[in-house]
Symmetry: C2
Subunit: 210 residues, 2 copies
Amino acid sequence: MNSPFTGLSRIQLNKLYDLLGVHIYHFNKNQEILPTIKNENIIGIILEGHAQIINIDYNGNEIIIEELFHDGVFGSNISSTNNENYQIISKRDTQVLVIDYEKLLNPMNLKYSYFNTFFRNLFDIINTKFKEKNERIRILEKKQIREKLLEYFEIQHKKSRLKNIYLPFTFKDLADYIAVNRSAMFRELKHLKDERLIEINDRKITLLYK
Amino acid sequence: MNSPFTGLSRIQLNKLYDLLGVHIYHFNKNQEILPTIKNENIIGIILEGHAQIINIDYNGNEIIIEELFHDGVFGSNISSTNNENYQIISKRDTQVLVIDYEKLLNPMNLKYSYFNTFFRNLFDIINTKFKEKNERIRILEKKQIREKLLEYFEIQHKKSRLKNIYLPFTFKDLADYIAVNRSAMFRELKHLKDERLIEINDRKITLLYK
DNA sequence: AATAAGAAGTTGCACTTGCACCTTTTTATA
DNA sequence: TATAAAAAGGTGCAAGTGCAACTTCTTATT
C-alpha cells in the first residue's frame, strides 16, 4: 500500500506510463534533481535510489525536509519543492519518474481503471505524508527542547508501543528535525539521562518512564 | 476550485451523497464536533459555519491548528484529528458532512464520473493544505522570533506581492501560529518597528524593506 | 592501513525567550 | 450602556538556548 503502483500489473503500468506521458531521469550521487526535471508543476516518484529534499535558508543552513527512498513521492504541490530555497539531491544513483501535474489531473484519465488505482494510491500516500507533517508540527510547536524531545518520544512510542526507540537517523539529523541546536539538544538529553528518564545506547533510546 | 463539490450539478451531488452514504450533522456554537461524528476514519466537510481544530497539550495550552470555514475539509487522515489531544469546536452554528474513509476509497466508486470529479477536487484541496503545512514548518524551523516573523512576512509577501500584510487573525493567534510567547513576539515586533523595518496599524503590517 | 570527514559529546558565555505580572484598549454580551 | 472578557501592549527577571570552540569516536574513502 505504500507504493503508488500497488495493484497494477506490468502491462497496466506500461499503459499508465503511456497515458501520463511520464519521463524517467537518471541521477548520479549528489546531483541536483530539480533543475533537470522542473517545469511548472510535476509529481516525481523515486523508482530506485535515495534522495533528500533540502531547504537552504538565507544564512546558508541546510535542513533536511524529507528523505525519499524507493516509491517516495515528491512534487511542487505535494512537497515543499516549489520554492527557490529548496533542493532535491540524489544521495546515490537514483532513478526518478516524472509526471506532469496537469496531465495527472486530466479528467479523461478517469476512464481507465489502472489510472484510478494509481490515483487512489497517490491519495493515500499524500495523506500519510500529511500525517507526518502534522507530527512534526506538533513537535515544533513545543517551546522547549525537553518538551520537543518528549513529544518526539511520545509519537514514536505510540507507533510501536515499545519502550525502545530506534532513531532512523543520526542525532544531528534529530536536532535538525526538531529544529534546535545540536549541542543544546545533547545537553538536554544529558539532563534526561541524569534524571533517569531515558537511557541511550548508540541510536537506541530507552524510555524509563514508560 | 476550492470546494470539494466544484463541477457537480445538484443531481450529481445527491447521487454522490447516496454513493458515499454521507451523514450531515448540525452543531451549535462552541460544541465539540469530534465526539459526535468520530468512528474510526472519516472525512468531514464543513457545509456551513465555522470551526477550529484545536490541540491541547499536557499543560492545558490550546493551540489552533486550523480554521475551517465553508467547504473546509478535515479528517483523521487529512488533518491532525486522529489523536486524543485534538478537538474540533464549532465557533458558530455549523453543518458538517461526514464521509466514511473506507467508503471513499472503495474502488467501485471510480465507475461514476461525479465521484471522480469529487475525488479529484479533494486531492487538490489536500495538496493545498499540504503546502500550507509546509509553509508553517518553514516558519517553525526558524530558531529566533525575529526570523520566524520575517519568514512569515516573506511568505505572505510572496503570495500578494504587496508591501502590506493583513493579518487574518489576532496577534495572539499569530503568536500561536509561529509558536512563540505572545509578549516576546510583541517585544520583537517593537524592535522591528524601532529599526523601521515594519509599520503596524491595527492588523495591517507594512514591510518597509520591500 | 592511513587519512579524511563526519558524528558524538562537552562546556562557557552571551543573547534570547518564556513567564509572571502589570496597564490600557477593544470587543463581546447581558 | 454597563460589565465582563479578551486582545494589545509593555517590562523585569530567571531560565533556556544558540553558538563557538573544542575533543573524542566512528565511518568512509583512497
